[in-house]
């Protein structure tokens, strides 16, 4: 990779200052996507601002009827947190399926959602659970956060500080994982809770999205059968060496039905 100036701020304000002072700065969270990107020279920032030493970004705690997850919480911490396993087990399962154990020890939810890889798992959870993203500047509804391929509503020098997840009545995540990478070819989280009955799909399109048709069907009858005749259009879905758009559309239906069944 190309050389850069490395910064290790102790506070969010210091991180913002370093970012704003940089010519072309990038934030480093877990680094499990960014470091490979730098090694391939797909990015060449002048400055790297490491968020790993900022205590305010860490931690997972209950906040009334919600679970507040620090942006710096790792996938392993989320998978193992008692609050999440007890109250949003679907989120723990999702986090526990990301990458491999070593990647999970470093990768963070803040980094993952800020990057918004089309095959990231968390976006499906934020959409299905009606989560809110907190930044150093404001709160952004999950529904408004993921705006396109590798694009989010974050402004320059805006840093994700936490994600607040309402606790659902029932939720489950079903993912058809690429056998090598573990990324979802199609991953669906279904949830019933304060944000309503929601079906959120990731891996299949350029950005995570919800299916209004599936949501209406489930709101009327919450069963896998209710989705039997609903086909997601293949139009606009991803097509690559792993799966055609048509196959992804088919997998969305299968994963959605499995997720509903897993809700119990």
């Amino acid at each position: 990779m190309y050389e850069f100036a490395y910064h290790r701020p102790a506070t969010i304000d210091e991180a913002v200052a370093a970012l704003e002072a940089a010519g072309d700065g990038k934030l480093l969270a877990g680094g499990q996507t960014l470091i490979p990107t730098l090694k391939q020279r797909l990015a060449a920032p002048t400055d790297l601002i490491d968020l790993g030493a900022i205590p305010d970004l860490k931690g997972i705690r209950a906040e009334g009827s919600r679970i507040l997850v620090g942006a710096g919480a790792t996938h392993a911490e989320i998978a193992n947190a008692a609050d999440i396993r007890d109250r949003i087990p679907a989120l723990a399962d999702l986090a526990g399926g990301i990458g491999d154990p070593q990647v999970r020890n470093r990768g963070t939810i803040g980094g993952a959602i800020a990057n918004n890889d089309p095959a990231a798992d968390y976006p499906a959870a934020l959409l299905a659970l009606g989560a809110t993203v907190r930044t150093n500047k404001r709160e952004i509804a999950g529904d408004d956060f993921f705006t396109g391929l590798f694009e989010t509503a974050l402004e320059p020098a805006e840093i994700v500080t936490a994600v607040a997840f309402p606790v659902p009545e029932a939720a489950a995540y079903a993912s058809f994982r690429n056998p090598a990478s573990g990324y979802p070819i199609a991953g669906v989280m279904v949830a019933r809770g304060p944000a309503g009955t929601r079906v959120a799909i990731t891996g299949a399109g350029p950005c995570a999205f919800r299916s209004a048709e599936m949501e209406s069907a489930l709101a009327a009858t919450f069963s896998a059968d209710a989705l039997a005749d609903i086909a997601i259009p293949a139009d606009g879905l991803n097509a690559d060496i792993h799966a055609s758009a048509a196959y992804r559309a088919h997998l969305v239906g299968v994963m959605a039905r499995r997720a509903v069944a897993a809700c119990g």
Partner: protein
């Protein structure tokens, strides 16, 4: 832009001059001569580079050395006690858990992290945990047996 970092490696304090872009595996191998940690793929897939940082297994080809400032790093060289193999290492020997040995340091370091939180892992749990450790020689069967046996030996 070179900078000086301080960390602990296998229990000993270390000071090193690194660039921002120096990977942890490069520091360990090239500067500290700890070549037991291997670079297999350089893309964070194969796990030959697995070490422990602050008690957790991580892929050292996927961390910057500067991120380990102030950290406690343990490599395969820090596992045995003098000439006496750690029970997990002995298990790999006894159960023929290696052929060429290239993946083996990463396998042992990964296994030690598994057993830390799960002292009696079953076969499914071991195979699941090894998701990030690839072996081209063995077909994994004896690696799994070795880890089962190593975990049992560690339980005493």
């Amino acid at each position: 832009m070179p900078q000086t970092i301080s960390l602990t490696v296998n229990g000993k304090p270390v000071t090193a001059e690194v660039e921002g872009r120096t990977l942890l595996v490069q520091l360990l191998r090239d500067q500290l001569g700890l070549t037991g940690t291997h670079v297999g793929c350089d893309t964070a897939q194969c796990g030959a580079c697995v070490v422990h940082v602050d008690g957790q297994s991580v892929k050292s080809c996927n961390l910057l050395a500067v991120q380990a400032e102030g950290a406690e790093v343990r490599t395969i060289e820090g596992v045995a006690t003098g000439d006496e193999l750690h029970p997990m290492q002995a298990a790999f020997r006894d159960h023929h858990g290696l052929q060429c040995g290239f993946c083996t340091p990463g396998m042992v370091m990964s296994a030690l992290d598994l057993v830390k939180n799960n002292p009696d892992p079953d076969e499914a749990e071991i195979r699941d945990w090894l998701d990030g450790n690839l072996c081209r020689c063995t077909g994994y069967q004896n690696i799994v047996k070795a880890i089962r046996a190593g975990a049992q030996a560690m339980r005493g």
